[in-house]
């Protein structure tokens, strides 16, 4: 039996699988066929693993036949190539790890596979998650399904492009300074960065350990909530993961927004924001108001220094984390080193791309003797001020609404030679990572045929509220269900 019209969302697929409308193997074959046919134009996958996926799908079908019926059982997903997977190579989109096979699965991967999810492949990304355009990948840039001459955003650009192009119903991402939310915005999908500590970082290749957080990406808030249910939870292998009572992130989706207090940070609506995106924020605020919420302006006085504070902290942590790539224990090694110092510096010089080198250099500089206080310590002090701004805002409101990015997707090559301009595209996302808060991007309009992403920021551990607002918004709008022509 053939099923030409598979439902696109995880939630609908989950119901259909439970009803026996099709099997996981059939659904998985459907996506593998789409990837095979369409991904040449998007380059959203670094590795596709059809045999592995079909075997997982067959196992999911067996589990279902034996009586299991979990929401994620048999659902295919695309996995960002930063999560370690045993048996399937994990590259982090770097020459350094171009042929590397992890000896174990990341905790996130273990949990998703235990829930019965089917891994279609590993998605493209900026090298070591450092970038906002997916152009720093050793495997070439991923492209935006809405316009393949434009970037999908980054660093989780392959995951966002794959979901937008319906090459996978959902995907994993990681977000250190906006790397889930910014590509979700530019590709017109929904992505959530959870509160720091919600999702184990074990087996998730480190960029900046105090900021890195994994999270789900999908077409809808409901799909993101379903996937988040399986991703979270304390893990003794990650000492920063947080022990909390298990939560059902679906629990509040259906609740009305009556009485909800929404704050719009004035600093996010200033001159740096494209007027067309500002208009989308205003329209969305009106929609939420019609749904029962009240809207008020709030202030995050230190928002203007979030980008520099973030880049100082993130680069410092990266320079330390990436010292492990030494050409000795794993990863790229140069030919014919003359001595140990040459082995280290040439293996690293050859294995890392330009953006990664820039971050290592910035990080090493701000941590070096004589510069630490003026740069690293100062940035950490600003981090506290930025956090205090958010804490103060949440004394007044339940959730913050603003843009995810200042502009829609830019052209490939437009910003790659100008790192600073690229960094400033993270202006609305980095503060959330410094503060450790949950943040979600959802589709909220189109400008000249390109999707606009709107950001919802919640208080600590208040993912349920953020997801509720996004879900209620998506019940009354259809931005999230629009599909790029190139994906048809």
């Amino acid at each position: 039996m053939t099923h030409p019209d598979y439902p696109q969302t995880l939630a609908a697929q989950s119901v259909a699988l439970a009803e026996g409308q099709f099997s996981s193997v059939e659904l998985t074959q459907h996506y593998l066929e789409r990837i095979n046919r369409l991904d040449g134009q998007f380059n959203s996958f670094i590795t596709v693993c059809p045999d592995f996926a079909i075997a997982q799908a067959a196992e999911a079908d067996r589990r279902r036949a034996a009586g299991e019926n979990g929401a994620l059982l048999g659902i295919p997903y695309a996995n960002k190539d930063i999560f370690c997977t045993k048996g399937i190579k994990t590259t982090c989109a770097s020459r350094m790890l171009a042929d590397w096979q992890a000896p174990y699965d990341a905790t996130v991967v273990e949990r998703l596979h235990a829930a019965g999810m089917v891994m279609l492949g590993k998605t493209n990304m900026d090298e070591f998650a450092m970038g906002s355009s997916n152009e720093t990948s050793w495997f070439g840039p991923a492209r935006n399904p809405w316009d393949t001459n434009r970037v999908p955003g980054g660093s989780s650009g392959g995951s966002a492009a794959a979901v937008a192009a319906r090459l996978a119903p959902v995907a994993t991402g990681t977000d250190t300074g906006g790397s889930i939310r910014q590509p979700a915005a530019l590709c017109g999908v929904t992505g959530l960065k959870p509160t720091y500590g919600r999702v184990s970082r074990w087996g998730m290749i480190a960029f900046a350990s105090s900021l890195d957080q994994g999270g789900p990406m999908g077409l809808t808030a409901e799909d993101v909530a379903l996937m988040l249910n399986a991703m979270t939870g304390a893990d003794r292998r990650d000492a920063t993961s947080i022990e909390r009572a298990p939560e059902n992130f679906m629990a509040d989706l259906g609740k009305p927004l009556t009485g909800l207090k929404v704050g719009v940070p004035t600093e996010f609506m200033d001159a740096g924001l494209s007027p067309a995106i500002r208009a989308c924020v205003d329209v969305t605020a009106s929609t939420l108001k019609q749904l029962g919420a009240s809207i008020k302006e709030v202030s995050l006085p230190n928002a203007g220094v979030a980008v520099p504070a973030y880049y100082v902290v993130a680069s410092a942590e990266a320079s330390s984390n990436l010292s492990r790539y030494d050409g000795v224990r794993f990863g790229h090694r140069c030919e014919n080193p003359v001595d140990l110092a040459d082995l280290y510096s040439r293996s690293r010089g050859e294995g890392f791309g330009n953006e990664v080198k820039r971050r290592i250099l910035v990080g090493t500089y701000v941590l070096s003797a004589g510069y630490y206080d003026a740069w690293y310590r100062k940035a950490q002090q600003l981090r506290r001020l930025i956090q205090q701004d958010y804490v103060a805002a949440f004394n007044d409101v339940d959730v913050l609404l603003g843009p995810t990015t200042p502009n829609t997707a830019f052209a490939l090559g437009e910003n790659i030679a100008d790192p600073l301009t690229m960094y400033l595209s993270d202006i609305y996302t980095t503060g959330v990572n410094l503060a450790g808060l949950p943040g979600l991007s959802m589709p909220g309009g189109f400008v000249d045929g390109l999707p606009v992403g709107l950001q919802l920021i919640g208080n600590y551990f208040d993912e349920r509220r953020v997801l509720q607002v996004a879900h209620q918004f998506q019940q009354h709008t259809d931005w999230h269900s629009r599909m790029p022509v190139a994906a048809e």
């Binding site: 030494d326 000795v328 080198k357 820039r358 100062k378 950490q380 002090q381 600073l420």
Partner: protein, 95 residues
């Protein structure tokens, strides 16, 4: 905020990161531009502000010190560029 090519090469040496001579000027110019913008952070008064290293300030978690998983040396070294008899090989350090 300006970083000379010599400064850049000093930092690269600290990071054990080879930067080709013909690229050093470009990196120095890019880093100078980035740091010039980042120097914005110096304008905010942070007197008496305690640095924040971690957004969720929790206490370290303790656990029983027991063996939880076996380490398979061959498997861990499968991705190593050069090993011999279980050892990682590097250029001679002591003549």
């Amino acid at each position: 905020m300006s970083l000379s090519t010599a400064d850049l090469l000093r930092v690269a040496r600290l990071a054990r990161l080879q930067i080709a001579d013909h690229e050093a000027d470009t990196y120095a110019a890019q880093l100078s531009g980035i740091l010039a913008h980042f120097s914005l952070i110096g304008e905010v008064n942070t007197d008496a502000i305690v640095p924040l290293a971690h957004a969720i300030e929790t206490v370290g978690q303790l656990r029983e010190d027991v063996v939880s998983e076996a380490v398979d040396r061959d498997q861990l070294q499968a991705g190593a560029p050069l090993v011999e008899n279980g050892y990682y090989l590097v250029p001679r350090v002591i003549e």
